[in-house]
């Protein structure tokens, strides 16, 4: 099964709802301000697989047919994610995302900040309008966690002494928290609000998938095919992002390899040979293998959480979502 087949299988039980989410998002860009509609239309046209709203809808779907509150919350989670990406692209000066031009690339950084702020505000306004207080509380904390994750990334830029625990804390904030919020909110819908234990379990479920997803993403930066990922290899390191393969390799390597890696990884640009040397040293030390195993262990934890849930289309799709997080190729 290809990765595209996997994502289709993940989305199948909630495909109609995802279309309604997209329709609601379109509605936010029918404003009297032409430039806002133009940029918004571009953002919606280039958005990806809606992984976060899909997880929210599937988690809610475990307890029966979906209602309007699930659509509202799914729309909000997608808005928060899109806003964060738009700000990130501007921060990183990225001109492309998955091969498509970014807002700051097509317009300006100014427009990227404005558009991100507009989408955050719309997310908040939708939650207020539909009195989704539980989701509001969860997402207020998540946006804090996401900016703290970014601040930690700033703090640890080019820091070759960053520990695995610090790295996981950072990617939990940056990526895990919003995916965890999606599944926690989903578990609190459909009269699930009273079951605190299950809500906490689904928080862990999403956090775990999110961290695994980011570890795999960080692996692609070393091992991915730029033609598929839409992003050059080695970009993370050039930006100062020290990720799990290197962290693990620095810990596991021989003294000679450790010194070689520290010297290479401290560079701000690489020749093809230097990059190949660094990758070979990480491979020898078992850094890639370590990261793959960690992602798989997290996937197992997530599967375990699902084992108490009723069998059916939603559970099958959530299982496929775990596979998607750890086995996808971009």
């Amino acid at each position: 099964m290809t990765v595209d087949d996997t994502i289709l299988e993940v989305q199948r039980p909630v495909r109609r709802e995802l279309e309604k989410v997209q329709e609601r998002l379109r509605g936010l860009f029918r404003t009297p301000i032409p430039i806002l509609n133009e940029v918004g239309g571009h953002v919606l046209a280039t958005r990806g697989k809606k992984f976060r709203p899909t997880l929210l809808l599937l988690t809610a779907r475990l307890r029966g047919p979906l209602r309007d509150d699930a659509l509202v919350c799914a729309t909000v989670v997608e808005l928060v994610h899109a806003a964060a990406l738009i700000h990130d692209d501007s921060v990183d000066r990225s001109m492309l995302r998955r091969g498509m031009p970014t807002v700051n690339g097509l317009w300006t950084d100014e427009m990227a900040i404005i558009m991100g702020d507009y989408m955050y505000a719309q997310a908040m306004a939708l939650l207020v309008e539909h009195r989704q207080n539980a989701a509001m509380g969860i997402l207020a904390q998540v946006v804090t966690d996401m900016s703290c994750g970014q601040a930690l990334e700033f703090q640890h830029a080019f820091d070759l002494d960053v520990t695995e625990a610090q790295y996981e804390q950072l990617i939990q904030g940056k990526t895990g928290s919003l995916i965890g919020a999606a599944t926690e909110i989903g578990a609190g819908l459909q009269k699930g609000a009273a079951d605190r234990r299950r809500r906490a379990a689904f928080r862990r479920f999403g956090d775990t998938i999110g961290v695994a997803f980011q570890i795999v993403d960080d692996l692609f930066d070393y091992l991915g095919d730029p033609a598929v990922t839409g992003k050059p290899v080695g970009y993370d390191l050039i930006e100062g992002k020290v990720t799990l393969p290197l962290i693990a390799a620095l810990r596991l390597a021989t003294e000679a390899d450790r010194r070689r890696m520290r010297k290479l990884a401290g560079r701000r640009r690489f020749t093809a040979t230097q990059w190949a040397d660094l990758k070979a040293a990480i491979e020898r030390a078992g850094g890639f293998d370590y990261a793959r195993k960690r992602a798989r262990a997290l996937a197992d934890e997530a599967r375990e959480i699902l084992s108490d849930e009723p069998r059916g289309a939603a559970r099958r799709a959530l299982t496929a979502a775990i596979d998607y997080a750890v086995v996808r190729d971009h």
Copy 2:
């Protein structure tokens, strides 16, 4: 009376509360992330007169002694304002604000986006924690209005055909909405929630002060002393911001002056002579006078709204706040 005396008079009835607001803000930057605390400390040390929280507290104070909910809302309004300024400075590439270095100036645009997002998130989290649902609804709309105001500014950049109505709509979004929110929230506290007519009146009160405040700010860009305003004259126009003195002058001028102004105002930089010529033409057409009169008319509207309120320290301070908005020199 100097402008500094005026602002002291405005703040006097709520000075202790403003200190508590500052203390709460400091608490938000005692995090485990050193860079966040460092940047946050700088932001708090360089923040200005707390005009928005002051107005909120004074409006609430009209109905008696303040409670904790007023402090929470005042803190949130200051957070939203500071977040918006940090994003604006990054958008505008401003290195200084009131003569003090900006976040993007001392650190990076990246840090400015992160810090702004963090402060917006903290604002939302505080409102959730203290169950301030009314304030939440108002502020969700305001952040939307503020980003729409910014988008309109982007839309109308270098547009010499922008109308006075479009300009007022733009500054209402950019500046009026948050000041209007501050006084509307203030009027809804102290058991004021039930009185919808009064809440609406205080919304207009703040909107009106805010628009007047911005018109005066835009006048400074032509007439201010850079040593006092901390910002070079003519900067707005170079950035494409066409403001009321020029809009009015283009409408009121003789055909010859209109042509002269359009030609001069279309430039991206000015010699001292060109700038003096443009100012002289605006003056001849009565553009500055028109803007001053509009600000004064708005101040009169705001004073009228206060006339129903009980006399006392809070009302006197709010009257002084109107004066401050239209007569300050920076």
